[in-house]
């Protein structure tokens, strides 16, 4: 992000940026930056908090009034209720079927999607929008595309010319966005962390993703390797699993 500040301003266009990792911005020294203490993915703090978002925006814009730089200023407020307690979340949809052996996993994911569908529909109705749809497939087809890797007979990309890795990544992103949007519509006003925990600990989709990650790591197809290494399973999840495995090995 800081690089763009240098590149655009060098060409004569004034810039002011949000900084999420202060140390990185301090090292890059862009012309104007406002560091915010918010979680990655939320540069304006929190959804549906227009007053708060406006305060962040005003603070960012005010940096254009400085007469010299570089400027790196700290936004003084934490985001409202972004990190609500994780505990107490019981998903109304039962995923008992998700704790099954690999052969049934694909079927479990299909059932899970069917069970979540009314919540997803509610989310779309309430929000008037969805972020599902980058694969160009219906979510059920995106799930089948992903699942075909577990069946040992990967489907070719639905869109001609797309690499296997790009098609698989988009299919997985749609399945995940569907789950997240559905979960957010359920009772309990879930924090982002609670939704993450639910998805990665309890859903069949996450188990399918973890299996695909291993398949991609071993694949000779270069387009699939990034999904094995970094763009399917978050660092926090991989790290947590590695720690759990270490724990198990202890005598």
């Amino acid at each position: 992000m800081g690089a763009l500040g240098h590149y655009l301003e060098r060409e004569g266009v004034p810039t002011a940026q949000i900084s999420l990792i202060r140390e990185q911005t301090a090292a890059i020294r862009p012309p104007r930056a406002l560091w915010v203490p918010f979680m990655l993915g939320r540069p304006f703090g929190a959804p549906n908090e227009p007053d708060f978002q406006r305060r962040v925006l005003r603070a960012l814009l005010s940096l254009f009034e400085r007469v010299s730089g570089p400027v790196l200023e700290d936004f003084p407020e934490d985001a409202p209720a972004a990190d609500a307690p994780v505990g107490g979340f019981a998903c109304p949809v039962s995923f008992a079927a998700a704790s099954v052996k690999q052969g049934d996993l694909v079927e479990a994911m299909r059932r899970e999607i069917a069970q979540l569908a009314p919540w997803y529909d509610l989310a779309v109705r309430r929000r008037g929008r969805t972020t599902v749809g980058i694969s160009g497939m219906k979510v059920e087809d995106a799930a089948s595309h992903a699942a075909s890797y577990l069946d040992g007979a990967p489907r070719p990309p639905a869109i001609p010319g797309l690499s296997a890795g790009v098609a698989l990544k988009r299919a997985c992103d749609d399945v995940k966005a569907f789950h997240y949007e559905a979960a957010a519509a359920q009772p309990g006003n879930l924090s982002p962390k609670a939704i993450d925990n639910w998805f990665w600990r309890e859903t069949a989709a996450a188990k399918v993703f973890l299996a695909i990650q291993q398949i991609c790591l071993k694949s000779s197809d270069e387009s699939l390797q990034p999904l094995g290494k970094l763009s399917l399973v978050p660092r926090a999840v991989s790290h947590g699993l590695a720690e759990a495995r270490q724990e198990q090995r202890k005598p």
Binding site: G12, P31, G41, N48, F64, R129, D173, V233, P234
Partner: protein, 155 residues
């Protein structure tokens, strides 16, 4: 949350390693301009936004997508390849990433001069140096549009 001191050691190290790998940008440019109430503002996000139907971002994409100001929120998608940041906020309200509604409010009350009809999106995961050619191209477009305040917003 994005305070490095609040992150677990392995995550903190990941971000610090990125600093070690940064190129030297040299002297920081600093361009002055008119008061905010006379500036024309555009948003350039590195969140990998694209309008549904446009080309989604892929691993290594270092080009940009145009986000027209009149694109309905329901048409915006996020195809950033990283899985290491929150998307639930964006799913709930695009303004947490792309604060166009807030910017329009500031335009309506005269705090900023005008809001451009065009905004732009890169994907922040691209190697940092690779963004330069398209950023220079974009600078020429922004100047042609008389934009003199660019808001850079990451995820």
């Amino acid at each position: 949350m994005a305070r490095l001191t609040d992150l677990p050691e392995w995550e903190r190290q990941h971000h610090l390693d990125k600093i070690r790998d940064l190129p030297d940008f040299g002297r920081t440019p600093f361009v002055s301009g008119p008061p905010l109430s006379r500036r024309r503002v555009a948003i350039v996000t590195t969140s990998g936004l694209h309008v549904h139907g446009d080309r989604p971002f892929e691993m290594g994409s270092a080009d940009y997508r145009v986000i027209p100001g009149d694109a309905p929120a329901g048409r915006l998608r996020m195809s950033h390849i990283s899985v290491n940041f929150d998307r639930s906020g964006f799913q709930e309200d695009i303004n947490v990433v792309f604060p166009l509604d807030r910017l329009r409010e500031l335009e309506a009350n005269g705090a900023v001069g005008s809001v451009s009809a065009f905004h732009y999106s890169f994907m922040g995961a691209a190697p940092i140096r690779n963004l330069e050619p398209k950023a220079r191209e974009l600078a020429a477009l922004l100047k042609k549009d008389r934009v003199d305040a660019v808001l850079l917003t990451p995820v």
